[in-house]
């Protein structure tokens, strides 16, 4: 994940508390979605950014996950996301992000 984004997210978590943040990913494949989710839940696996060894345990979803998609008005989703549902590996991406979300430290 971009180092600038890591820094910004860490600052927002410090400011509002990690439980108040919800991160939505737009990653193009399961691998990059999983790495981004891991960075947000367990810390930066590359040890390069501000989230290295920082277990924020953030709520992280991919834009294509049903749980998130169901919250968005259908016409807006169709206009903004539309064909990407079929172009990207939606199910595999959703499974990768969900799997990482479930690894969030229970003590917060």
């Amino acid at each position: 994940m971009d180092l600038g984004s890591q820094e910004k997210i860490k600052r927002l978590a410090d400011e509002h508390g990690p439980e108040q943040l919800l991160v939505v990913l737009g990653a193009p494949d399961p691998e990059s979605a999983e790495i981004a989710a891991e960075t947000l839940v367990l810390g930066d696996p590359t040890y390069a950014g501000a989230l290295a060894e920082v277990q924020l345990g953030l709520s992280v979803y991919h834009m294509l996950e049903d749980e998130l998609r169901s919250q968005i008005p259908e016409d807006v989703f169709e206009e903004q996301i539309g064909v990407m549902v079929d172009v990207l590996e939606s199910e595999q991406i959703a499974a990768a992000v969900k799997g990482m979300r479930e690894q969030a430290p229970s003590d917060g």
Binding site: K8, L25, M63
Partner: protein, 41 residues
């Protein structure tokens, strides 16, 4: 789902871009605190 939350939209150029995520979240009443569109080459 978005009530009382600060939403971070981390889009990607080859997937779903940040502004598209922002429009979706805001249309559902969410408050976007930060958004970006990353690019891996």
């Amino acid at each position: 789902m978005f009530e009382g939350k600060q939403v971070v939209a981390l889009g990607e150029r080859d997937g779903i871009a940040g502004p598209a995520i922002v429009k979706c979240i805001e249309s559902a009443g969410g408050n976007v605190a930060f958004s970006s569109t990353e690019c891996f080459v």
